[in-house]
């Protein structure tokens, strides 16, 4: 896949990042109209940068993958209906997984090697679902989940590279200004 390693994706990501950071700053300045000089705390700033980076990554990727929708949907619209639906789906997904897990676990202690392996795989698939954005919905089967994971990993790597370069550049410019 040549998407994330091309210049275009990185440029788009950078632009989105800067734009979203500006938006974040305006957002906070609007809220802190009373205390103009009060900067955001470190934690808030980190959250702002991180969420803007994620949104920028998802936006630069386009609406092609499932995880992008999962990231962009709550960030863009405060649509309550959507959120409720997601919560419901998530609960249903959790319930189903729990029942299947308990049903399998009620074996009575017979744990052959294959069963143990299957259990491990199932547990880790659930864990992967938690990690990949958008993997929590029940409608995602294993094959789709793996594909989403692939896509997400590649774009995450690009995001990390871009962020690192940005931070380096900022550091360098900051230190040069001081000197």
């Amino acid at each position: 896949m040549q998407g994330p390693s091309t210049k275009s994706f990185r440029q788009a990501f950078l632009e989105n990042l800067l734009v979203s950071l500006q938006l974040q700053q305006e957002h906070t300045s609007k809220h802190d109209s009373s205390s103009v000089g009060a900067a955001m705390s470190l934690h808030e700033r980190k959250l702002a940068v991180k969420s803007s980076a994620d949104v920028a990554m998802a936006a630069a990727r386009g609406a092609g993958a499932r995880w992008t929708r999962a990231i962009l949907a709550p960030a863009s619209s405060a649509c309550k209906v959507q959120r409720c639906r997601r919560i419901v789906i998530r609960c249903r997904g959790r319930k189903r997984s729990l029942t299947t897990r308990s049903a399998r676990a009620g074996d009575g202690g017979t744990s052959s090697g294959g069963e143990i392996a299957r259990r491990l795989v199932r547990r880790r698939t659930m864990a992967l679902r938690e990690v990949i954005p958008g993997g929590r919905d029940a409608a995602v089967d294993e094959a789709t989940l793996l594909r989403e994971a692939m896509d997400y990993v590649v774009h995450l790597r690009a995001q990390v590279d871009v962020l690192r370069q940005v931070s380096e550049a900022v550091q360098r410019s900051g230190s040069s200004i001081l000197q």
Binding site: S5, T6, P74, V121, A143
Partner: protein
Amino acid sequence: MDMNESSEKGMEGNGSSGVEWQSQFSGGFSTQQHHAHMMDSFAAASGMWAAPSAASQNMSGLSDVNGMSAAARGAGFLAPVPGFLPPPGLGAHFPVDSGFIERAARSSCFVGPGAGGGMMGVGGFGGGGDQHMGSTFGGGSDGYLDHRRKDDKAEPELAGSGGVPSSEAAGGDCSSKGSDSKKRRRPSEVMGGDQVQSSNVAADSANESTHSKDRGEESSPPTATTTGGRSKGKGAKEESEKEDYIHVRARRGQATNSHSLAERLRREKISERMKLLQDLVPGCSKVTGKAVMLDEIINYVQSLQRQVEFLSMKLSTVNPRLDLNLEGLLSKDLLRFPGVSSSSIGFSPEMMHPQLQLSQPGLMQGGAGAMGNPDVFRRIMQAQLGGAKDGSQMPHALNGSFSDHVAAQMAYPSSQDLSIRPPQDAYQM
């Protein structure tokens, strides 16, 4: 012959890896001789081989050899085709030879994905004895279909074959399609099959413009319906029909039950994706088995996410007002982009920074650890925090076994972890 030229053109694109593939294929054939499935497997192998080669070309960090060997292993039984040409006798079966060759030679993408396109042409001829030429492209052609559907309206038989894919589609989709080794497409419902095909296209394709459909639904819905209804034994032929079914032929000596076929397809698809993921995650080439592989993937994704966290923390510490100098930053980064491809290269300039040199002794100790990425990430983290916060605990959490990721998350008792979880939850909400 035009066929020779086009296939050779395609071979040039891939260079040495194509030669290796050829040798592997011929070696593979010498071990087994399944004449009944010669043509089928040839088509399947072409599809599968197209996928790894395209995928390897397009994914950074993948090795062609790896993808080639995977394809060769998967298709161990192949006709020995010197120079990737089908036996000349087969050519007579297809009335649309010249049209296809012309189309193949004409299309620009044919040389782009290199050997994938070359194999495309050969695979079509390799499916001898089948009346539908388009269907013999099996795994390889599925992703190509919707990319070229506009051009192929006049020639429905060629639609399966003439559509040379964008490299992303080939990379993502052919991997899944090729693994379904006996899939066939009906050429008659090429138009109707567009819907199915576009839904089958890879999600990881960066070609957003052409594939705008929902990628969430894989080919599993169509395969479930079709294999349940229409899967035949290994000797049977599919009757020509108008529905867009994906026909699966059972392999020799395996159950032809509809459920087991669907199950096997699903498993093959999943294993194919696992192989691709193996190439993505660094240091997982020797790992076999789903459980360990999944573990590694989870670790890697989590480490990448934490990298993002700490980089954003770094950014927020460096400029307290979140104002980035647009022009200066963009110019500097755009200048650096062509040279930077991997994280290791990007990291070395960082090492020269005076801030990091203070913590060099700490880095040496931290660097004694394990994998590449957690190592880099640990360095970054230590550079930022200077061991002030939870530098000692982070390596522990990283090096510990991630058999249960929930436990790992609990074992990370810093305040940062509490901040990590809610944003992630916010995403799923």
